[in-house]
Symmetry: C2
Subunit: 242 residues, 2 copies
Amino acid sequence: MIYSSKDNEKIKEIKRLHKPKYRNIHGKFIVETEHLVEEASKAGLIDYLVIEEGSYINVDKPKLIVTKEVMKYLSKLESPSKFLAVCNKKKPKEDLGTKVLIADAIQDPGNLGTIIRSALALNYDSVVISEDSVDVYNEKVIRATQGAFFHINIVDMVITEEICEMKEDGYKLLGTKVDSGTDVKFVDKPDKFAIIVGNEGRGVKKELLDICDKHIFIPTDPDSESLNVGVAASILMYELNG
Amino acid sequence: MIYSSKDNEKIKEIKRLHKPKYRNIHGKFIVETEHLVEEASKAGLIDYLVIEEGSYINVDKPKLIVTKEVMKYLSKLESPSKFLAVCNKKKPKEDLGTKVLIADAIQDPGNLGTIIRSALALNYDSVVISEDSVDVYNEKVIRATQGAFFHINIVDMVITEEICEMKEDGYKLLGTKVDSGTDVKFVDKPDKFAIIVGNEGRGVKKELLDICDKHIFIPTDPDSESLNVGVAASILMYELNG
């Protein structure tokens, strides 16, 4: 059977997964492009595939064949890929490891994606994402991670209280401020720590800064505006690596 | 007079400035949003303003009033701003200073913008951009710099030969490779240097790597894909700051 109508219930169900609400209800999300579908497959997350008629992909999962038009309807890309996978959300590991990045209320998908990509490249163990951040299953976030999304532990929808509990679990919390605290160059690397970076406009929220063990910053030219948050998070992770 | 037609020659002339070719011919470019128009004004670059009827901005330059519809036609933003400025291109300074970032064939406007923003924040003197990079006057580049575009020396459309000449001028050229050369942590900071970062897909081009004094890299997890080039450039600039 080839799905050729946008009004088909199954097609509408997939389309709705572009909205965070339905991703939460169903515990599923969408990835697009051959590269990301393959990464999702390696990570064992694929529930089923959606494939444009006449195309082939070497992934052993149920396949739903659709017309080019239906694929265009389902895709968020300007030039739709021929493959799309409906995936089950990742299960976070309980053990966060020793090096953690906490993203507090990051709004831009590209920024959150960059942070996840850098965290993996710089050997961090987990990325913890506050509930008021952009949804990590947003396709722009996943695309910006360049596949890193599938290879690092991600704990999302975390509330402030849970971050407070990390402190009880022995994590040193290092909260970023734009221009005060300790220059990150002079911070001794704790055995187990979490760097907190904050919202693009207002930085890390006060409740979180209040419970931090240390406030850290990257010295920048006082006349210029600040660094992009994805860049700042990456420099902090790099500096605290060794 | 209020311009109300998209077919007006003057309006078409402005619209064409969204294309690199016409920006080159006329030596002009467009900035949008009140914030960037103000930054362009401070930098003394504005030729004239385009303003939606009924709006006001405190910038002493010739003003061309247009209808909301014409503004929408001229704007590249999803929600068009009420202000747009037609600016004269920046004049590069001949003296590049002692700390330079060279962007070789960067294709993504967001990446080039991030590099320029970080260069200013991290006190670099100039950003040199190869002729095969995305046009630095592209509105997405300028937006991603968050105003930094107006406050740092930018030399664009530079050919490989000119970068070679920098070596004769006493610059140490530090070319980035993804995984070989010297770990940037162990590079002695030269008195006068230029970091070269390269294209998102293929890195710094061979002709440039061949003339470098040193190849440098940021150690990353071998299993993961590389860092985003905007992030990598920022970490290198940060680390070589001392």
